[in-house]
């Protein structure tokens, strides 16, 4: 038996030669920490080249003036002047759309809300996240029930989430392009939505109307995402808690209020955080439905100034957007922390 073992070991020993084998042996000899960093290297290189390097470059570009003539990309070093100009509105004259709204002394103290990239983005974010959460919650409550055909209802509710943004835009463009369908009428023959004052007769040319429709389109697509996350949270709740509540005589509403809601709240807040980050970068749906001229979001402003080409300004807007997202994330995290989640 001992001889057999020796021959077996010898067999494998003899195969252990050549560069491949020495690479294998070298890797096996690494400590756990070295091995961990070795395996992370490809991912870190990718993220370094595609994310960190561009971020650093974008930041440094934002410190230079725009160069409108000549072959150079950027003008002279201006430090934080781009940021100051943008925040004070001094740069607005050069931009396709203003960064900030115009402030006034009279109530409501701001005008030109819809031509301000910041305001458009914030309005979009607040309303879309709010309604996506509410509707997603409703959808999750339904999907949490056991009923026949649940599988297909679930597919139906998820599918909008899987629709490519460009097709999402196309769908809503085809629904609200004047004269195509019953949703938008003419001045002589207004449709229901026109009569109710939700939208005008050329909604995709009007900033307020377009913003409203873009929010609706986004809610249509993304509520499903919220629903899935909330559903996952609901299904991780221990079912025996409900049995305890039932035995104690709690009604369905009380079960929801006392068990489901508090246990699901952390999940909902995390889901809202993810959605908020995403909503702050809205671009594709605007570009396909109404165009960046009509609804200037922050990401739109980055692209339009980039195409202008106002590289310094574009980089500054991009970094301010990142900063605003950072602030929003911190607000959420501070609130999480204060609620002890």
């Amino acid at each position: 038996m001992a001889t057999e073992q020796q021959s077996g070991e010898a067999l494998s020993e003899s195969r252990r030669s050549g560069p491949y084998a020495s690479a294998v042996n070298w890797m096996e000899a690494l400590s756990e920490t070295q091995f961990a960093y070795l395996l992370l290297t490809p991912a870190l290189i990718l993220l370094g080249v595609i994310a960190l390097y561009p971020l650093a470059t974008t930041f440094s570009m934002s410190l230079f003036a725009d160069q409108l003539t000549g072959s150079a990309r950027l003008g002279e070093f201006v430090g934080l002047q781009n940021y100051i100009d943008l925040i004070t509105g001094a740069r607005d004259f050069a931009l396709p759309s203003a960064f900030l709204p115009t402030f006034t002394t009279q109530f409501p103290f701001v005008t030109d809300i819809y031509s301000s990239a910041l305001m458009v983005t914030l309005i979009f974010t607040v309303f879309s996240v709010l309604f996506e959460t509410l509707i997603g919650f409703g959808q999750a409550l339904i999907l949490d029930q056991d009923f026949r055909g649940r599988r297909w209802v679930r597919v139906a509710i998820i599918i909008p989430w899987a629709v490519p943004i460009v097709i999402q835009g196309m769908i809503w463009y085809l629904m609200f392009q004047p004269n195509i369908g019953f949703l938008v009428g003419t001045t002589d023959n207004p449709a229901l939505l026109n009569q109710l004052g939700f939208i005008g007769t050329t909604p995709l040319r009007d900033t307020a109307d377009s913003l409203f429709l873009i929010i609706v389109a986004d809610v249509w697509k993304t509520s499903a995402f919220m629903a899935l996350l909330i559903l996952a949270g609901m299904q991780s709740i221990d079912r025996s808690l409900y049995d305890v509540a039932k035995v104690a005589g709690a009604s369905r509403w009380q079960q929801f209020k006392l068990i489901t809601f508090p246990l699901i709240l952390p999940t909902v807040l995390v889901a809202m955080l993810f959605r908020t980050i995403d909503a702050m970068r809205v671009y594709g749906i605007i570009e396909t439905m109404a165009g960046c001229q009509t609804v200037p979001s922050l990401s739109c402003l980055v692209v339009t100034t980039f195409n202008a080409p106002l590289y310094g300004t574009s980089a500054t807007v991009a970094f301010i957007t990142a900063g605003i997202i950072g602030i929003v994330v911190s607000v959420y995290i501070v609130n999480f922390a204060s609620e002890g989640i």
């Binding site: 756990e32 994310a51 561009p54 899987a162 019953f182 396909t288 980055v302």
Partner: protein, 319 residues
């Protein structure tokens, strides 16, 4: 008034008759709240089904109606024109754009799964200094808007970035209108989600199995690919499906990192937008192309819905 007071004497039968069918229903519902909940449930279900599915139906209505007849459409198509699904390919080579989307999606998915498998193994199973810092860093990167990466990446992939190695300075290769300017940003963009999903799955494989594989003769990497990955097949499938859908749906880089021609690897974003802006606006073709473009992901969702749900749970909520 006297009538009412006497009504009590007449018994509840009479009162119920007076209230009519709705009143009777309300009455029953109050007596039996489960009934009310069931009805609310059905109403809500139907409402959500209608609102999520109506836009798809509208696409079908527009697609089947000949373009010249598209105006003031009601709920039904005016005419029946299935040839639109052939015409759309004649007008724009949409199949090529879809092919490009598939190639981009699959290439990205393969890269992401490979890198995320290694990283997920490291984060899920190894102990080493700097672990939580690195995980937070990777999460933080996904907070930045794609716009913040745009200019340098555009420069990098159009060959306008100079790379200095010692005294030698070379400019980056011009990769514009190849898959590279899309595949790499996609991979970086969607890598974090897959890393988090696979970290969760790989972390759940019992240590004994990895140890057994290593004692039996595998290397550490061998144990990962022979035992841990096969056992985490559901997690890998989830990460793959989510990555593919995300790439297929992506807009920003898909739109900006190519010249919009099918021969330059532009994905369906460009294909859909290509119908617009010619001499007419062929609404029916746009609708038809949208339907065809949605089909692959719709089928994927139908097949993989369980995986998607479990993956989002694992990836998004465990942080």
């Amino acid at each position: 008034m006297s009538n009412e007071s006497s009504g009590i004497g007449l018994g509840s039968d009479d009162a119920e008759m007076k209230r009519g069918p709705l009143g009777r229903w309300v009455n029953k519902a109050i007596k039996n709240p489960d009934r009310a909940y069931r009805s609310m449930f059905y109403v809500a279900t139907v409402f959500f089904l209608v609102t999520t599915l109506f836009p798809f139906y509208w696409l079908l209505v527009i697609a089947l109606t000949p373009n010249r007849l598209i105006s003031n459409m009601g709920l039904l198509p005016k005419g029946f024109n299935p040839e639109v699904f052939i015409t759309m390919f004649e007008r724009v080579p949409f199949h090529l754009y879809m092919f490009n989307s598939f190639v981009l999606g699959i290439t990205t998915t393969v890269i992401v799964l490979l890198l995320a498998s290694l990283a997920g193994y490291v984060f899920g199973r190894l102990r080493f200094p700097g672990k939580s810092f690195l995980m937070l860093g990777i999460l933080a990167i996904s907070y930045f808007p794609p716009a913040a990466f745009l200019i340098p990446l555009f420069e990098l992939f159009t060959g306008n970035t100079a790379i200095s190695i010692g005294f030698i300075t070379v400019s980056s290769p011009d990769l514009f209108n190849t898959p590279a300017p899309m595949v790499f940003p996609f991979s970086a963009l969607f890598l974090p989600l897959s890393i988090f999903i696979l970290t969760t799955f790989y972390g759940q494989i019992p240590d004994g199995l990895e140890d057994a594989a290593r004692v039996e003769g595998t290397t550490r990497l061998g144990a990962l690919f022979r035992v841990i990955v096969p056992l985490s097949a559901p997690g890998v499938a989830t990460a793959g499906v989510l990555t593919f859908i995300a790439v297929y749906n992506e807009f920003f880089f898909s739109f900006l990192m190519n010249n919009g021609e099918a021969s330059s690897w532009a994905p369906i974003v460009a294909g859909i937008l290509k119908y617009q802006g010619q001499f007419d606006t062929p609404y029916n073709l746009m609708a038809a192309a949208s339907i065809v473009g949605v089909l692959p992901v719709a089928i994927l969702v139908i097949i993989a819905q369980e995986r998607i749900v479990s993956g989002l749970t694992a990836g998004a909520l465990k942080e």
